[in-house]
Symmetry: C2
Subunit: 483 residues, 2 copies
């Protein structure tokens, strides 16, 4: 067994089979909903619902006691009333189950001592039987690559590369739809809840080893093991980027976090110091967290921070330029040879400086391929942002009005957009310089879908794209200094 | 005639008929594309294409000279080579046309003197004939309420309430799709280009009078008449909110703006001073501009800045709380009577403080109606943010699994979601306190569509929603002091 398989989280994320407490004949109970998601995604291992009375749940044979299950079980999932968690955990231990996810809430996140005592009790039981568990007060985990989704929302994203550890279950489960809007998905994701046993640090260590994870995202309300966090994150940042969204830095955020998962927050200044020391890139919203993960998980490390901007629209170009300075990027001076190469390809109204603004694309082929190639060849450019827009309806209209029949035109437009997207996506591998697109369109537009599915990173506005490139440069600088 | 109809922009935005230069039998020319958009939206006045050779363009009779057009024309649109603009404008003047939109570029935005000279020349011609024109180097205008769209993108948004004046045509035309994602639209919108004659100030004055416009959005690269801008904006802000996105404050943004429209930018500090003096709310991105316009155009002015947060998900609640402090909002202490009223409705895991976090909604009916009503009754709450999520698939699954046939279930779910949305939307009129929703879902989800179409403002993340509420409070404070 290698480091990955030896890690306590490995078996939680790769269970051969699962015993499930809390699903029942009531389809609206939280347990039933979570079991539904699990089955819906098509988990291939055996699932054993445990229920005192029901004999069959969602088409699966149910068992009244764990002892009756005919084989050794890898993972227990508990979605049951707070008061019986300790007993069931004890049963798990006796049955030789040593991995669990405890979804039930009402532990240390509650005011008063009762919840804290109960949490201490389940930790003792776990230690007695050598059980490693996630939670309590969590929503579960996702390993999209083996179709494991123990949360209560159906997993609708792809099997992706973002490894996520979150102190909020919502920022796992309610992000499935958000990620799918970019063609993205989680590789593996953890809702950590109260972190009675498994915490952020464990997840970072594990995700560093996980081969499908290219970037690690963290949602943080408070860090429990400060010193160890620093040590682990610093080590991991040298091999994989870590992006964190921290909401505990304001008084209001800190208080809300405390009653949510019982985490202790610290002021922004302190956390910024920690993040800077260990190369963690801080995001300012959940949207930004995933924007950053998208870019850091797909782009090579740039050699410097000199940005080239290519646009056919002045406003988006100016917005990108403005944002680049606010994100510590530098707008490159273009080399004389670049200016020479560009000039004959641009209309007379165009601006031949950086941003390169065509004002109106004379030739779409140039725009997605010839022009960015000229810019990427320039040694003064470390990264490229391409404002992009190729609405199917508009291209289609042009072709139809040129006299083609609508079916033929539709085929032509599809083929044309695919070809353009493929050419643009090739830029990254050809030049090895970060090259991303930005547009106000989304995946309902063919060209966005094609670009993203061909491997080009496209974000939904110039400002968001450039801000994410700034984050990439900050990470690259840290790596240059500390790796 | 009232002030509105007397305003020089009124006839540009309400032409009875249009003479159009630059459309031709070549469907891919910019002029042809712009004429297409105009016809596609269904402008009801007569359109007269003017072309030296073509006899018919897009099914319309074309005229070789403006003198041949059989009636007096209100508005000329010029999408023609730079070199012939002056002559055509002269022709317009002779034909008694005194309103024009000059799309052609290559004027003062170009380096060197030629473009500037040419621009001075067309201004002289306009003055000679009493022509008021927009541009040059612009994309045109939209008046959605009379189906007027002279830009080159088809208008796909609704007839809305956002009046926009933009120094970038893209931030008009490329925003149609963005706005439609929220069920929003422009009332009237101007792409200003080089502002040789009509500028931002004129638009602000006009939009203040426009009855369909509830909020004014500005995209600014540089202000040309500083003193007058201050005077006009200050007056208008007292009756309608103005939101501005300014990109000229950084060196890079300032340079990009200059080569885009020739506007002279100033440092952020100066512009912030101007904005603060005249009650203009500054946005930091184009997304944020429209988020702010959405909230400022739909919500009443709050009496104070004390925010209530209702959530069923801890993470989004904590994120909203954190963002509220960063947006100068205060998380209200709930009154004892509020706590008493809430307690019996919440599960034992819930957090009964602000944010009110249900952790799991026991009863969806309570969530969208009873619970927010309790919070809105509290005198300590000036505004309410409601994190909201009601995915159709999830509700549907529950109903189907409860034993209903899928068609019956579908009807039930549709009716149920509509009813919930209507109840939530009623909160605003019932209490007169700003009440907005936030969710990571979009209008592809029935509940988002229903909420928005019933009149509830819903933004695509808790952070964006709370940030926009912060902007609303800043504006309300300015109004309290200066109105």
């Amino acid at each position: 067994m290698n480091d990955l398989e030896n890690h306590p989280l490995y078996k939680i994320m790769h269970p051969k089979n699962i015993a499930f407490w809390g699903a029942s004949s009531n389809p609206m109970s939280m347990g039933s909903i979570q079991l539904s998601s699990l089955l819906m995604l098509g988990f291939e291992g055996q699932v054993y619902p445990i229920h005192p009375r029901d004999k069959e749940i969602k088409g699966l044979k149910a068992y009244s006691r764990i002892e009756d299950v005919p084989e050794k079980v890898d993972l227990a999932i508990l979605v049951i009333p707070t008061t019986i968690v300790a007993d069931v955990l004890e049963d798990c231990g006796k049955a030789g189950i040593n991995r669990a996810i405890i979804v039930s809430a009402g532990f240390s996140e509650k005011e008063g001592d009762d919840g804290k005592d109960l949490q201490a009790k389940i930790i003792l039981i776990a230690q007695k039987y050598g059980i490693q568990f996630i939670g309590p007060n969590c929503i579960g985990v996702v390993n999209s690559h083996i179709k494991l989704n123990t949360t209560f929302n159906p997993y609708e994203a792809s099997a992706g590369f973002i490894g996520m550890a979150s102190q909020s279950g919502s920022f796992i489960t309610q992000m499935f739809g958000h990620l799918s809007k970019f063609g993205l998905g989680f590789s593996q994701a953890f809702s950590l809840g109260n972190e009675a046993m498994i915490d952020l640090c464990d997840c970072i260590e594990y995700l560093a080893l996980c081969p499908e994870t290219k970037v690690i995202g963290l949602y943080i309300e408070g860090i429990r093991r400060g010193r160890f966090f620093l040590e682990v994150a610093k080590k991991v940042s040298k091999i994989k980027p870590i992006v964190a969204y921290y909401v505990g830095g304001s008084k209001a955020g800190g208080r809300a976090g405390k009653s949510h998962t019982g985490a202790l927050a610290g002021p922004d200044r302190l956390y910024n110091g920690v993040f800077n020391q260990c190369g963690i890139i801080r995001a300012q919203s959940i949207e930004e967290l995933f924007d950053f993960c998208y870019v850091l998980g797909t782009q090579p490390l740039p050699k410097g921070n000199r940005l080239g901007i290519l646009t056919h629209s002045g406003g988006p170009g100016a917005a990108a330029a403005d944002r680049s300075e606010r994100s510590s990027l530098e707008l490159s001076e273009l080399a004389p040879t670049t200016l020479e190469a560009l000039a004959p390809l641009l209309p007379h109204t165009a601006s031949v400086k950086n941003p390169v603004d065509l004002t109106f694309a004379r030739n779409l082929n140039d725009y997605m391929s010839t022009l960015p190639r000229i810019l990427l060849k320039d040694d003064n450019i470390d990264l490229l942002f391409l404002y992009t827009l190729m609405p199917q309806q508009r291209v289609m209209q042009g072709v139809v009005e040129s006299g083609q029949g609508s079916e033929q035109a539709s085929q032509f437009v599809h083929a044309y957009i695919k070809e353009q997207a493929a050419a643009a996506a090739d830029l990254l591998s050809e030049f090895g310089k970060p090259t991303i697109g930005g547009t106000f369109c989304d995946r309902s537009e063919l060209f966005v879908r094609e670009l993203q599915d061909h491997g080009m990173t496209v974000l939904p506005s110039p400002e968001r794209a450039v801000t994410a490139l700034g984050a990439l440069c900050r990470y690259a600088r840290w790596r240059r200094i500390f790796s």
